[in-house]
């Protein structure tokens, strides 16, 4: 085997890139919500779980076409995001951050338990398998490619929305000075509710892509929640570009680290990198 060009290393790097896309998409909604509302949705991955169940039930049980089921799921999770804000976040908007963490943490356990009661602990899956894309010796998941594309598309769409529209500008403005928003004629409550719905919709979009690759079960959030949160912190909480960059760095550590050492070490190296960054730049790579 050639030491200079290793096709398997290339496969690991490219798979890392695809994983990065997936993680970037995951971090998008969490970052948006934190950036605007200044509250961390610890239960973000559990919203994604709800979205995955929505796709599953609409498509498998009620035989909706997959694309329609996915669109509906995005709507469902957007509604859940809105509901989360109205029922849970709004009363603690001005509370200590630790209390905000505790309530959203409570929602995490609530959603897990509710999903166990409502859907059972059985693993569900769509039974849809996308073909893989072959490149000589290398082979890649089509579902990951789609997720990668959706992450890029999502970031670009979000960027255009945030920089070109009044509403988007208001969403950015409110994170910089909440108190004077009424002087601009903006109702902060409405912006928060809207941002929550948008964050929910992004969680829903992530759900649509995860459901193509992962089995659905009430504890699926545990696989993605912590890593999503780490990536957001790594990139600078609330900084969407930072989260995007951090996702790709993190994924490369996991993929290439896992390739050169044991898979476990890939994660360990990624976490060591995370801790090192926290010492070097406590507010994240692109944090201010």
């Amino acid at each position: 085997m050639s030491d200079i060009f290793d096709v398997y290393l290339l496969e690991a790097v490219l798979n890392g890139l695809l994983l990065g896309g997936l993680l970037a998409l995951l971090s998008l909604g969490l970052n948006l919500v934190f950036g605007v509302i200044d509250v961390v949705w610890i239960c973000y991955a559990e919203l994604i779980m709800c979205g995955m169940y929505a796709v599953y039930y609409l498509h498998v049980q009620y035989h909706w076409p997959l694309v329609l089921a996915m669109l509906a799921a995005i709507g469902v999770v957007a509604f859940l995001g809105w509901l989360l804000h109205q029922l849970v976040i709004r009363p603690v908007l001005n509370a200590e951050p630790i209390n905000q963490l505790l309530v959203t943490g409570g929602v995490l356990f609530f959603l897990q338990a509710a999903a166990t009661l409502a859907f059972g602990i059985e693993f569900k899956n769509l039974g849809v398998t996308l073909p893989s894309v072959r490149l000589g010796e290398m082979s890649f998941s089509a579902a990951r490619l789609v997720a990668f594309g959706a992450a890029l598309g999502g970031v670009i769409a979000l960027w255009i929305f945030l920089s070109k529209t009044y509403l988007g500008t208001a969403i950015r403005a409110i994170s910089q000075d909440r108190a004077i928003m009424p002087l601009m004629g903006v109702d902060p409550g409405r912006i928060f509710a809207l941002t929550s719905a948008l964050g929910g919709a992004l969680a829903g979009l992530a759900a649509c892509l995860l459901v193509l690759q992962y089995d659905i079960h009430p504890a699926i959030g545990l696989s993605f929640g912590p890593i999503t949160f780490l990536i957001c912190v790594l990139g600078g909480l609330g900084n969407m570009l930072g989260g995007f960059v951090a996702a790709f760095i993190f994924a490369q550590f996991i993929a290439v680290g896992g390739f050169f050492f044991a898979v476990e070490w890939g994660y360990v190296i990624a976490f060591i990198f995370f801790i090192a960054v926290m010492f070097w730049r406590p507010r994240g790579i692109l944090g201010k």
Partner: protein, 232 residues
């Protein structure tokens, strides 16, 4: 146009304003002057509904603002340039102006042209984050942002505060021009000497109470004001 009747307000247990009454007529420029901590900022904050009064009422164009939501005040025609300017530091100057036009989007392009005509400096700086502008430019941007909503009444809170003396001159020059453009202005200032050159009438607010009112000339020549505030 604006009538403030026996207004009281405060923060928690602290009362900052006692039975204050004043009036601003259309086309007028009126100042509320007084020392630091007299309740001037509170007065403006009650008018634009950032805080609720404990007693009294504010009417604008004959209608009470009591039942109006804070974010609907702008649409009624009142724009407020808050104390310390309060620009959105990471938005560009032009994005700040766009936020000012949030409730009147259709006239955005037209107003933007007017505002840039009034503040050519802002046009040069329009793609710069507002946080990187100089103090004077930031004040211009804050005033311009308020004008973007096409207000009938402009509330200005200490436009000269924290600025270098040379810049203070040019800001008051700007305020004078705005008044000359026909805007109705209610301005709150500590820099009494300067502000009385710009407005036609003024109220003196001390420890939360209106203690005197009159034309700018009257107040400028009143001995107690000359003694206490103008250092004469």
């Amino acid at each position: 146009m604006l009538r403030v009747a026996e207004l009281s307000a405060g923060y928690g247990g602290f009362q900052a304003l006692f039975d204050a009454s004043l009036e601003v007529n259309a086309g007028e420029a009126v100042a509320v002057i007084g020392p630091n901590g007299a309740g001037k900022t509170t007065l403006l904050r009650v008018i634009s509904k950032l805080i609720s009064p404990s007693a009294g009422d504010v009417t604008f164009e004959g209608r009470s603002l009591a039942a109006v939501a804070p974010h609907d005040v702008v649409a009624r025609g009142i724009a407020h340039v808050p104390e310390n300017r309060r620009l959105f530091p990471r938005l560009t100057a032009e994005e700040n102006l766009r936020m000012g036009a949030y409730t009147s989007r259709r006239t955005y392009a037209e107003r933007l042209a007017q505002v840039y005509a009034l503040f050519p400096r802002l046009r040069e700086r329009r793609h710069q984050p507002a946080g990187t502008l100089s103090g004077g430019e930031q004040q211009m941007c804050a005033i311009a942002r308020a004008l973007m909503s096409g207000p009938k009444l402009l509330l200005l809170d200490e436009p000269s505060a924290g600025l270098a003396p040379v810049v203070v001159q040019s800001i008051f020059e700007l305020v004078r021009r705005i008044c000359a453009e026909g805007y109705t202005v209610l301005i709150v200032e500590q820099n009494i000497r300067q502000v009385l050159k710009v407005v036609s009438r003024a109220y003196l607010l001390e420890a939360g109470r209106i203690v005197r009112s009159g034309s700018a000339d009257e107040l400028r020549t009143a001995p107690e004001i000359q003694k206490a505030y103008l250092g004469l």
